[in-house]
Symmetry: C2
DNA sequence: CGGGATTTATGAACATGCTCATTAATTGAG
DNA sequence: CTCAATTAATGAGCATGTTCATAAATCCCG
């Protein structure tokens, strides 16, 4: 009763939020159980107990549903990473720590990850921008780590940390794509490949001078 | 008359090949004119003067049609690259030469390229393998170039040329993705970014020793 | 309360990728 | 040439993502 009274004036808003949440939960469950392609929007609506149209009045398309589901997790993952990030170790190790958490997350749900990463670069609309933003923040995070490493004289002062962060990111991605592509996904192998690429980048492959 | 006689015994085979070719040509035209999404398989069939089912008896799905169309071009592009490849210049320049040709090709048809590159890693089936093969050959090509450079003492003898080739490739791809994502695509900018990344990799960003 | 305005929910309808049972054409042995 | 077998072509039909006109629910002002 009191709850009803306190919520007077925004019952509609609360209802909408509830509907949104139940759609997201249904999507999450079905995506996890059946995979992205085999989950129909009708099934999502049915499980959520709403009409198909309702789903699309909350999310512009099916892909945005997946992004919404996974971005929640990825934000949480990033928080976990930061909490457990070791200090006072080489920047390479710090980056590998970062990569490990995400690789573990992605490889646990290869199908959904493939769908997400396929679209990473080219999704349009509100949810596409959120995804791109997440990727940018990832790069900036690496850039910060490199900046700190520079202050510790770990990397050369003349190095462009943002460019270097993009290099790290591109290696991180290529290893992720390769991993998700291979039938037997193994985070350890992925991380050791990534480590090799990073060491190569730190050392350089050209003849000095 | 004589033609007919000589082709006796494989009229069916020839017919099939003709049908295949006209389907491919229709696809190419429509993809170029309308883009991938706005080209329907019905439209392709109509333009080719065949039934919809015929299209799918020659190619497993719409995406394979796109791959078939673009792989032809990409093979030709690769041949052009090799013909005009400068010798006796730094490996970085040789790679930039390679990249230029492909960047030009991709940026001329951003929509189709986006669709192709989205699927690069994860396409299934016959045509997916052809695409993956093409990518592998690209990496091996770089690896060969690096091996030659090693013999010229241009890169360190202890460097792993295959790993280095993968690094080159990952930078090549990230720049391509970024380029295709940006509204104003500019091959020159892409190439200078790529050059920066390569120089960074050759020099190394860590402190020597 | 009353009732017009606004927001939210709905599912029939549409477009499209793709399948598959059926038909048509071609072949080659007798 | 005949005809059974093989291969190619076909399009109606299905499943599914998405739209949009309509209905239902909620709000808010007088």
């Amino acid at each position: 009763m009191e709850n009803k009274k306190t919520s007077i004036g925004n019952r509609r808003q609360a209802q909408k939020e509830d509907t949104r949440k139940i759609i997201l939960e249904s999507s999450r469950d079905l995506f996890n159980d059946l995979g992205f392609d085999k989950t129909s929007t009708r099934a999502i609506a049915l499980r959520a107990g709403v009409g198909v149209g309702t789903v699309f009045s909350h999310f512009p398309d099916k892909l945005s549903l997946l992004i919404a589901v996974l971005l929640d997790d990825l934000t949480a993952t990033q928080a976990d990473v930061m909490k457990s990030m070791p200090e006072e170790v080489p920047v390479c190790d710090r980056f590998l720590h970062l990569a490990r958490f995400f690789y573990i997350y992605y490889t646990k749900r290869p199908d959904l990850s493939r769908t997400l990463l396929k679209e990473l670069w080219f999704v349009k609309g509100e949810w596409g921008e959120k995804l791109t933003t997440q990727a940018f923040e990832f790069v900036f995070l690496i850039s910060d780590m490199l900046e700190q490493a520079k202050e510790r004289d770990e990397i050369r002062p003349e190095a462009d940390t943002l460019l270097c962060a993009r290099a790290f990111f591109s290696h991180y991605l290529i290893v992720l794509y390769e991993g998700l592509n291979s039938p037997n996904i193994d985070v350890k192998t992925m991380l050791s490949t990534l480590e090799g690429l990073l060491e190569q980048l730190l050392t350089g492959v050209g003849q000095p001078q």
